[in-house]
């Protein structure tokens, strides 16, 4: 009985988290301000790392959080500072 309820709940959260990441990808591709696009992509990476935790892959969560939410937005913000913030 308990296994049945917990089983349905985990799959429900997997479905909700992966559907919630689609609007952030659309906003990141469509916005003209490049800094906002980087922040939307970082939010989408956070939702992906939660999805990876639910899929029981703890090694991947450690690498993914350090790389995609830490180092990659830092690198992209440095790039945007040097080349110009607004797309034409």
């Amino acid at each position: 009985m308990t296994v049945d309820l917990v089983g349905n709940l985990v799959f429900l959260i997997i479905g909700v988290v992966s559907i919630a990441s689609v609007p952030f990808v659309v906003l990141a591709i469509e916005s003209k301000d490049l800094l906002k696009a980087i922040i939307f992509s970082a939010v989408q990476s956070t939702l992906y790392s939660f999805l990876l935790f639910l899929l029981l892959a703890p090694d991947i969560v450690l690498v993914y959080v350090a790389v995609s939410v830490g180092l990659l937005p830092l690198l992209s913000t440095l790039l945007v500072k040097k080349v110009g913030r607004y797309e034409k």
Partner: protein, 268 residues
Amino acid sequence: MRSRDIAFALLILSILLILAVPTFLGALGSLPPENIRSLARSILGLTFNPYNKSLWTASPEAVAAIIWDYRGLDTLYETMVFYTAIIATLMLYREVLGSRDEVRGRGLSLIVKRGTAIALPAIVVVGLSTVLHGMLTPGGGFQGGAIMAVAPVVALIVFSRSIIEESRLTYAHLVALRSLALLGIVLVPLIPIIVTFGNAFIFQNQAKALYSFTYPSTVLDVPMGGLITFLNIFEGIAVFSAFTLAFTILLYSEKVSRKAVEGEDIGF
């Protein structure tokens, strides 16, 4: 609407259809799978099995055992690809490598400096702990190295560039550290062959049926995994120094970086 917008809408739709139709007709098997494949079952059954000591790796973590023992050659070549990619980044700036910066920076305000100075050693300690426990819990060389690499980058932005130039993490030291770590990764699987004069396999972890060289399998009272511990430590050092190198090169001021580009419009 212009024809360009129609073409892009058709592109999105066709990618979706090409991916979705074979999946729901069964190309990936049933979703989610009912049973894992037989190779995974045999790896999980053999990785910490003290009743079958001719095929075991002494580490209770299956992912670290696959990366450094069962598929160790793949990881060795991947480390070499990583090494070459960072060399390619450094080659774009070859006239200005290792030189001092001409613009003196001041860093951020006092509150930010003191707060960061408390948090930075904590980041390095967490990264080291993740590297050293890679054979018991989720962790390992890549994970710990990526966590540790956040610390010098934050220090570079908060304290301005003088902290790198007046410390021991200069360009020459970082390159030497990275090359020594890669040398360590290459030598550790070759030690069985050197020590027993040719009577062992490459990447041999524990004693096999034919040859009987073995790395130690417990340290004090905790399963160690043989060569997995040493390879994790070297890989953590290599990843940490590679990311620090790449970020110090990218964060030069514009006056110094323009020297790497001058002369290209007349052809050299």
